[in-house]
């Protein structure tokens, strides 16, 4: 085991209580403290646990190799802390500061121990900085990872939320599209529409694009694909909710929608759908019964 790090190990092992007190003081005094997101007691508990784990890890492990198995528990703990902080709404730098703020109390102690040997002091400080930086970076990485997981989950949820197929009337389905249409979403939309056509035996599907912000050639192509697939299942499609700007872009882009019935509003589309399916309206139903 190299000589560097010995003093650091000693400090962490022997003066844990003092270290914790100084560290907490530094954290509580720092500008990045967020008492609105986290209680002092929780912070104290996390700091205490990290110090204890650090002691165990530094006692046996190599300071320069935090990927090693000796550091497993430290890494797991930091990942857990980052995850919870990401959920609590801390920023990445605030999360990293939790680890990095340990530097100052450690340096103070190191200076006290090695005040006579400048060479050793510099080496110890370097080893400590190196270790804490790595741990800090690890924390940020874990933070970003948990944020990405969150984003992915929300994307999945949005994907499911945003493609409802509703039955408006006997034989009439409506598909209100909200948000941008990319190929992945088109696939989901198409599948759910076709499935619903099979389930309900609908003969007309109204695709309402009021909530689609922009229609470019790709989106138009996706729409036409959906229409073609529905037609193969024996259902006619009506595209409704075409806003004036979108009508302009469609024509400017040269997209050919002439094979598809298009209507400006969902109400118009619905009324033509009722006509085509020879639907009986409530008054008429009431009259016959």
């Amino acid at each position: 085991m190299p000589a560097t790090g010995q003093t650091l190990r000693k400090i962490i092992a022997q003066s844990q209580k003092e270290l914790l007190a100084e560290w907490l003081q530094a954290q509580l005094g720092a500008a990045t403290l967020r008492t609105d997101l986290m209680k002092e007691g929780e912070l104290r508990e996390q700091s205490r646990e990290l110090l204890a784990l650090l002691q165990a890890a530094t006692a046996s492990g190599d300071l320069a190799q935090i990927e090693g198995s000796d550091w497993n528990s430290v890494r797991d703990f930091l990942a857990k802390v980052s995850r919870s902080r990401a959920q609590q709404g801390f920023s990445p730098s605030e999360t990293a500061t939790f680890v990095l703020s340990l530097k100052q109390p450690l340096f103070v102690r190191l200076r006290g121990e090695l005040s006579k040997d400048a060479q050793a002091l510099a080496e110890e400080i370097w080893a400590t900085t190196d270790l804490l930086d790595k741990l800090g970076l690890f924390t940020v990485e874990a933070y970003v990872k948990s944020r990405e997981e969150l984003i992915q989950r929300q994307q999945r949820e949005m994907m499911e939320l945003s493609t409802p197929v509703v039955q408006l009337w006997e034989n009439i389905l409506a598909l209100p599209l909200i948000g941008t249409l990319d190929s992945e979403r088109t696939q989901v939309v198409m599948e759910s529409l076709l499935q619903k056509i099979v389930e309900t035996g609908a003969s007309i599907a109204i695709i309402d694009i009021t909530g689609v912000p922009t229609v470019d050639t790709l989106v138009a192509q996706h729409l036409l694909k959906t229409v073609a697939a529905a037609r193969l299942m024996g259902a006619d499609c009506i595209i409704s909710g075409i806003r004036p700007q979108i009508a302009q872009t469609i024509v400017h882009l040269g997209v050919n929608l002439s094979d598809v019935t298009t209507k400006a509003s969902l109400a118009d589309a619905f009324s033509i759908a009722l006509k085509r399916t020879h639907a009986r309206l409530p008054q008429q139903l009431g009259a016959t019964t």
Binding site: L194, Q195, I197, G201, K225, A228, R231, L232, G234
Partner: protein
Amino acid sequence: MEKIPILKMGRFLLVTVQVDMHDQLAMQLQEDLTERIVAARARGVLIDISSLEVVDSFIGRMISNIAAMARVLDAETVVVGIQPAVAITLVELGLSLEGVRTALNVDRGMALLQERLADEQR
């Protein structure tokens, strides 16, 4: 040899594909069907592919071709019972079966054919 049965129902021919359609079978069907249309003086052909779970571009084109041939012989073709997955595949392959009428099930398809016949007799 395997063959796809062609049933005659009044002025219509009913073809139900119950087995996986391979290329040879499709060619055979094309030949049989055109002969039967002429022999039976059929006015409409209904092809039910509801048990077909896989299609490739060849089968897709065969269906198109059969419909076109039937039209030349003055018989309208309605393809019914296309599964969602099959519909998506066909569209992705760029085969949207232009000119072929489609319906959800045999009932609807039959109604379409009868409508056409009634229109003509009027």
